[in-house]
């Protein structure tokens, strides 16, 4: 398949990192707030609901409790029970009724409580929601957002630390995005609410409590644009969600060892904005794709294959993947072993450089 098939040339990208582990000054410029990622989503939802009376929230425990992660805290009190629906405990029911509400002209934002609990809704997402516009030959739109807290690093029990993105990325008709910073979370949730297509909004739950500056008065970057968050010249690292923080740590460590690493935050998993990735690989000649998900048939596999097709002659080394293992997410006592950390990324950097 030719490069034009996979390159989203319309999507601009933006350089410059706002995240990372390094402490930053508490910048409080006009219109800028220092918010944890969960609060940034909350603020974005509040804005989206204020902008469009058809946006409504539905999910388990999202009303008075504000969701198990408090992402919707205060929204029912502010907008009422007709805009923030505490639903019965049934994921298929949440997605299936959201489809009917979308047919009626609403723009439902569904909260799935944890990544591993999305599967009771899998049929409604993949066989119904994703195909509804196509089945109707464009006569019906499906502006439904599905928010999914995902990923590990929180020491939780089974089904609470998974990364199920690939199941949905494989399904035509869905759009998948994942913010890694509070600023992106604030803007991307609003853009997701504006989309006329279903958007799966994967929230890196281990980042919920990390603060970052949120530009409340700016404008949204394109929802499906990837972004260079650290420039470098020898190796390109690509990841999304909480993995971006790990990649930035790895880049810092690599720099100390004398290797210049570029880091790209995917932001969008479907479609993937390949322009910055391919441009970067043409410069560095080396690509490492990292994610918490198991590597077999993953978003990382797809990127590896596509970049190999598109930039084969620029590659100095095979595209490498750093991923969770192809085993069920382990008991939390093993999660630091299972989840890729900066050292695992650096091991791949060393292999790529040695080629």
């Amino acid at each position: 398949m030719s490069e034009k098939l996979i390159t989203n040339t319309d999507a601009p990208h933006h350089a410059g990192s706002r995240d990372g582990e390094a402490p930053r000054p508490a910048r409080k410029a006009a219109g800028t707030a220092e918010l944890p990622l969960a609060k940034a989503i909350n603020a974005g939802l509040r804005k989206a609901m204020g902008d469009d009376s058809k946006v409504l929230l539905m999910g388990e425990d999202i009303g008075p409790l504000g969701g198990v992660f408090r992402v919707t805290e205060g929204l029912q009190a502010e907008f009422g029970e007709k805009r923030v629906l505490d639903t019965p405990l049934a994921e298929s029911g949440i997605i299936g009724t959201a489809i009917g509400l979308a047919m009626r002209g609403y723009r439902p934002v569904c909260e799935i409580q944890f990544d591993g609990f999305i599967f009771p809704g899998f049929d409604q997402i993949t066989s119904q929601l994703a195909k509804m516009t196509n089945r109707h030959e464009g006569q019906v739109q499906m502006p439904v957002v599905i928010r999914v807290p995902y990923g590990g690093h929180i020491g939780a029990v089974e089904h609470h630390q998974e990364s199920p993105e690939a199941y949905f990325a494989h399904t035509p008709g869905l759009r998948l995005v994942s913010p890694s910073t509070p600023n992106d979370a604030y803007w991307m949730i609003q853009e997701a609410c504006r989309s006329n297509d279903p958007v799966m909004f994967f929230e890196p739950k281990s980042r919920y409590w990390h603060k970052g500056p949120v530009d409340l008065t700016g404008s949204a970057a394109p929802l499906h644009a990837s972004r260079v968050v650290r420039t470098g010249s020898e190796v390109t690292l690509v990841g999304h969600g909480a993995m971006v923080t790990v990649l930035l740590q790895a880049a810092e460590l690599a720099a100390a060892e004398g290797t210049s690493v570029e880091v790209i935050d995917l932001r969008s998993l479907s479609p993937i904005d390949y322009s910055p990735i391919i441009a970067s690989v043409r410069k560095t000649g080396r690509l490492i794709v990292a994610s918490e998900a198991p590597g077999f048939v993953s978003v990382s596999s797809e990127i590896a294959a596509t970049v190999t097709e598109a930039a084969f002659y620029s590659l100095e080394a095979p595209v490498l993947r750093v991923s969770g293992f192809d085993a069920p997410f382990p008991p939390a006592g093993l999660e630091t072993i299972y989840l890729p950390d900066a050292d695992r990324v650096l091991e791949a950097v060393d292999r790529a450089m040695a080629y």
């Binding site: 007709k82 639903t87 019965p88 049934a90 029911g93 509400l101 030959e137 499906m142 035509p172």
Partner: protein, 371 residues
């Protein structure tokens, strides 16, 4: 374990109007019908049965990949569909050919589904809100419930004006009662008190599995467990199906909450043209239901009221013409455009489908010039 349930029946199997307390409750809905409206019930049932036969023939002749027969279920479908108001929304499963026709769908769209020219076939917004067929069993019950939640959020039920109040009716079969989605739909409907009628056509067979495997109790009894009033109706009695549905739809639209109707009927034909019902059910059972045929019964009653041969002959001729027109237009259905594959995967522009469409166009063009 199963308690007896009183089934609403207005016309006996031999076409005699019933009396008694239950009938009295529903007869006012029938008394309001004009002679023309009653004749239309017969016309609907006869035409859709002839359509069903024609489509089955087309399948056997290789013109359709598959056919889904509706024979035997005409009264349940026509009665309930005629009870809905034009502004109501109807969510079918995939055997509701009579409901589709009553709502003004060009049923060639159903032919297109089974000939492989479309996954849709009609625009619900232009078909008196008759939504698309849904093939995954019970999935549509949740869409219907969500839609009804939307009506309630819009405040367009319980206004006190039945001409303005909207309602939803969703069709499903006995097999669907075992699915999680229907049970979740009933939970949501009860929680949000949706203006909605759940219309179960119990045709006694989910492909080869009898309803006794789906449930140890009459299915209508399931409703009360969800806090939803339920009623069982003779689904081969078009008058009872009409009256019971009209009453329950109006209760739902008035704000009384969701309703559940179990219509007892029978799938006289196979599940689909790929099925062989002689492998799993007896001829005696089939014959016992043919003896309760909905069209014969209603014709008997119409004749008893003085309807003459001329009317029935005219309807038969109309049905023949309808079938001939379907046959002609089936042959005229072309190959779907490649655009259909790409253009509506997403509503907003999408780089992957756009690029793959372009690639395919270039590929096809590169192949086609010298053939």
């Amino acid at each position: 374990m199963a308690e007896s349930v009183e089934m609403v029946q207005l016309l006996s199997a031999d076409g005699v109007m019933q009396s008694g307390a239950t009938a009295e409750e529903y007869l006012p809905y029938i008394e309001k019908l004009s002679d023309d409206e009653l004749r239309q019930f017969h016309r609907d049932m006869v035409v859709i049965r002839r359509f069903d036969v024609e489509a089955a023939n087309l399948q056997r002749q290789g013109q359709l990949g598959l056919w889904v027969p509706s024979m035997g279920q005409e009264a349940a479908q026509v009665g309930s569909a005629r009870a809905a108001r034009d502004h109501d929304h109807i969510f079918p499963a995939y055997r509701e050919h009579a409901v589709a026709m009553v709502r003004g769908v060009d049923v060639l769209g159903i032919i297109g589904l089974l000939r492989g020219t479309t996954h849709g076939g009609w625009n619900p917004a232009e078909s008196k809100n008759f939504h698309l067929y849904t093939l995954v069993i019970a999935s549509q019950t949740l869409h219907a419930t969500g839609y009804a939640m939307g009506i309630a959020l819009d405040g367009l039920h319980a206004t006190g004006d039945p001409d303005k109040d909207e309602a939803v009716i969703v069709y499903f079969g006995d097999g669907a009662t075992s699915q999680g989605d229907l049970n979740e739909a009933l939970v949501f409907a009860a929680s949000y008190q949706t203006p909605q009628v759940f219309f179960l056509q119990n045709n006694h067979w989910a492909i080869s599995v009898p309803v006794s495997v789906q449930s140890r109790v009459p299915l209508v009894q399931r409703a009360s467990g969800f806090g939803i009033p339920g009623v069982q109706v003779d689904g081969n009695d078009v008058l009872a199906s009409f009256a019971v549905t009209a009453k329950n739809l109006d209760e739902a639209r008035s704000g009384a909450g969701p309703r559940f109707i179990e219509a007892l009927t029978y799938r006289v034909g196979a599940h689909t043209s790929s099925d062989d019902p002689t492998k799993y059910r007896t001829d005696a059972e089939l014959q016992s239901w043919i003896a309760r045929d909905p069209i014969t019964r209603f014709e008997t009653w119409l004749r008893s009221r003085g309807e003459g041969d001329a009317f029935f002959a005219a309807v038969d001729e109309e049905a023949e013409d309808f079938a001939a027109d379907i046959r002609t237009r089936t042959h005229e259905l072309g190959t779907p455009s490649i655009d259909k594959m790409f253009d509506h995967v997403y509503s907003d522009p999408h780089p992957v489908t756009a690029a793959q469409k372009q690639w395919l166009e270039d590929y096809e063009a590169s192949m086609g010039s010298d053939s």
